[in-house]
Amino acid sequence: MTTQEHTEDHVWRALSAVIDPEIGLDIVTLGLVYDVQVAERIATVTFTLTTPGCPMEHIIQSGIQRAASEVEGVTEVRTQLVWEPRWHPGMAQRGML
């Protein structure tokens, strides 16, 4: 595993601390995180929300930034909120909902 992959793995783990308080599950388990890439100590997290206009948008976005910025080897965090592919409950880890 390269250093970059190692850091990405740690970012994924750190994101497990970000929960959707209404559903009670973290955003990784829910399948809301689509991608994590680390390049030149910059972590880019691509994520979505369960529904457009979700009131949790700001909380989850800032939670991602806080959690990922705690990871060793990350000096900057970028978040990308996307709506394609649209999230559906099948994206959550099986049996968790």
């Binding site: 750190a14 601390a17 970000v18 929960i19 308080p21 209404e22 559903i23 009670g24 689509y34 991608d35 880019t44 691509t46 369960t50 529904t51 206009g53 979700c54 009131p55 948008e57 700001h58 909380i59 989850i60 976005q61 800032s62 939670g63 991602i64 930034q65 806080r66 959690a67 990922a68 910025s69 705690e70 990350v74 000096t75 900057e76 965090v77 970028r78 978040t79 990308q80 909120l81 996307v82 394609e84 592919p85 559906h88 409950p89 909902l97």
Partner: protein, 442 residues
Amino acid sequence: MLPNPAPAVLPRPAAPAATLAMGDAPSPWLPGLHFAVALTYFVLGSGALVLYSDHLARGSFFMPQVAAATHLFALGWIMLSIFGALYQFLPVAVGQPLRFTSLAYVGLAAHTLGLMGFIGGLVSGARGLLYLGACGLSSSFISVAFNLVATLRRADERPLTWWALLGSALFLVVTPAYGLALGLNLHGDLSLSQRFVTVASHAHVALVGIVLLVMVGVAHRLLPMFLLSHGASERPAWAALALLFGGALMLSIPYRNTFYLTAAYAMSGLGALAFLIQAALFFKRRVRRAIDPGMRLAGAGLIGLTVALLIAPFALSRGTSHPPLLSAYFVALLGAISLFIAGHYYKIVPFIVWYHRYGPLVGLQKVPKVAELYSEKLALLSGALLALGWLGLVVLTFVGSRLGVWIASLTLLTGACLEALIITRVALVARLSAANGGRSPR
């Protein structure tokens, strides 16, 4: 490949950003104060039912004391809950901050004082106090309508929720105008049946044009989110919107032809039915099978609305010739809406508290879930008492049992007090808990 929008950047160290966390939502004080006053009126209204249960059991629909209890529910509990929820929900729904925040506080003060004067005037028979109270209430309604339109006009998109809230703004102006006209003619030469037609139209313009339209608009966004329901058709909601708006508009026009009124009520009833179908679709398509206490109570409210809808044709066609049925119908309708709203308190208030107290800690430390901010068992007990009280009131008012109505009112009052305590505890104790490392207050 995923699209690549402009990324939001936060260089390390990532200090909690208050502005980012708060978004467009207003200060929690604005909805919080509305909810606090609304809950107080919920308890007072339930207490008034206990106090005046004799009148209710006799089907004395036009007794000032019964009207006072009805208005404590309709104007105090239901309307203030709706206004508070709108001030919290609107900025999130339309992506724009509330246009006039100060006006919202002034409106709340006018509403609270106005309702006190209005109720005092009704019970004591002091006409001056009654009109003064009505003026305070009217200014509150108009201020909410003004704020609603001013905020909605800034929105970039116009989905169903936008149209529903815009429609309700019209009836926020029509309802007090209707009420004032009714008040001025209260001591005129109207016969009992004429007065019934006018009172029924006034009540239904408010309930259909404001309450149900807002319920359609807000539930369209909140129910799928709360139930985690995806892929349900939205057609019933659009039908509900059109029919409820049309029905309330027809009832707003003071034309008293029987065929015309029947068409207006039929349109309103079909609109309510379409809303119930939409809500049932959301419940049916939910992914999470377990339903929390808040959604259970809201579901009970929807079942209650179905009951009210079934009684409506009989109650409204017989009017004052069958007072127990008429009283039971209004109890069913107001009670069902009350249950639906009471259920949403378990979703909205803990969420607001969580958002402001624990939101900035997400990603840094373990935070409680929204549902962990209150005791599920107590919430279920409170919901059961409210639902039982409502059911008892409907059945026993129809039967005319004085003792039964008193017991049912007492059950409702106990449920209302318990809910008020649970919600107050969430609002107050969570604050202390946040200062104590973010532990849940349970």
